[in-house]
């Protein structure tokens, strides 16, 4: 399947159909999720209305990790099979993932002020997510640091695979260290320990963010492919 869709023409044809679908799914689920999260769901008995930040924060943090793994996987594909498309997908994912990471950090900070009494604490989860943010930035800078584009793509691919070690550290930081950040309550072996009235908007937002990611990814990848095409055409024009 990899090899089948590695062909840019097939990829463009497929994504031209998927792009409006993902846009539709993203806008509907995020809209519904925000409505359930901000209006319908009950306030928490301890955190009162502040709990609503969670519906923006938690899915963003999931997506931050998801995007990084996506970069690392497509980088591995790019290094092994040398598919140009895999590099473009990794490159297009990086700014989206960095934005999700920033969103998670910013909303967490806004939640921390009323709940913990401070904008920022140096606990394991927060520190490792901050490192993830730096990894995204380093990846993007390294990608563009070379005059030769393909050289930058390969160097950044290796960096992203090295940095993937940070993802399990983020996931398990709340279990390994006794920290301020609460442990997982949705993705657990014995089912989620969260009331359905709060779980529904959370799941809706997570689905919405994922659809948003794919929509943005398709837009960015298609733009990148078209830009490449334009570059090739202008080179040909100069040659003739």
């Amino acid at each position: 399947m990899f090899n089948y869709f590695a062909n840019p023409v097939r990829f463009l044809r497929l994504t031209s159909k998927l792009q409006p679908i993902t846009m539709f799914v993203a806008s509907v689920t995020i809209g519904l999720g925000l409505y359930y999260g901000l209006v319908k769901s009950p306030p928490d008995y301890q955190q009162s209305e502040t709990v609503r930040i969670m519906y923006v924060h938690v899915p963003a943090a999931w997506m931050a990790m998801f995007c990084y793994v996506a970069i690392a996987c497509s980088s591995a594909v790019a290094l092994i099979w040398r598919h140009m498309l895999a590099n473009i997908i990794a490159k297009s994912t990086a700014p989206i993932g960095a934005s999700f990471t920033f969103l998670a950090l910013a909303t967490g900070s806004l939640w921390g002020k009323p709940m913990w009494g401070t904008w920022w604490v140096w606990d394991a989860r927060l520190t490792s997510v901050l490192i993830l943010f730096f990894l995204y930035l380093g990846y993007m800078v390294l990608y563009n640091a070379f005059d030769d584009q393909s050289r930058g793509a390969r160097a950044a691919a290796i960096l992203s695979i090295v940095g993937v070690i940070n993802v399990p550290i983020i996931k398990f930081s709340v279990d390994w260290w006794n920290t301020l950040h609460q442990p997982a309550s949705v993705i657990k072996m014995d089912g989620p320990s969260i009331h359905p009235s709060m779980l529904t908007p959370l799941i809706l937002m997570a689905v919405g963010y994922t659809a948003l990611y794919f929509w943005l990814l398709f837009v960015r990848t298609r733009a990148e492919l078209n830009a490449n095409k334009v570059r090739m055409m202008s080179i040909q024009q100069v040659e003739t």
């Binding site: 520190t127 730096f134 640091a145 050289r151 160097a155």
Partner: protein
Amino acid sequence: MAGKSIQVFFKLIQREILLAIRHGSDSCMIVLFFVIVVVLFPLSVGPEPGILTRISAGIIWVSALLSVMLSMDRLFQSDYEDGNLDLLILASEPLELIVLAKTVAHWLTTGFPLIIISPVLALFLNMDTSGYSTLLIALTLGTPTLSLVGAIGAALILGARRSGVLLSLLVLPLFIPILIFGVSAVDASLTNLSSKPQLLILGGLFLAGLVLCPWASAAALRQAAE
């Protein structure tokens, strides 16, 4: 075959150390940089012994981190520029082994002098004597890991624009775990707690780095020379 590889391994270390000695000033400059950065802290946060005692471990670790990072760019850069790197890649020995040899030599010429000078700096910073042995052990376990991880960054930036600044962007986030456990080991023994868990984690990081980092650096070098 294996015997010859080992021979090449030690020959390479010998060559790198010889180069460092002949150039002389490079290693001295790194140590001087280390000392000057440490000296900046008492001047900036104030000379009260109480404050310095509390943050001494952190200051020494941060300065060591910066010194190692600063010395990193010369690990592959000169070989890359004069074409030696292509010969090393073409050699029959595995590139991973060659990278490891260069990293060991790098540690011997930068990390090791830093460890030797660090007790003197701890004295400057009024560190309690109970922390000295832990500081030395933690640095001995931590600085080789810094060299190993830094080698990946040094290999990745070959031929990049503004490579010095770029290297710090790539490598410093990866240095953070070593910094955290290195400092908390010393802090633990300063407060009369056992520093064993942190030292064990540092040892684990070192062993993991010893196995995984040369592999990643070699991959980066191959794509740089492609």
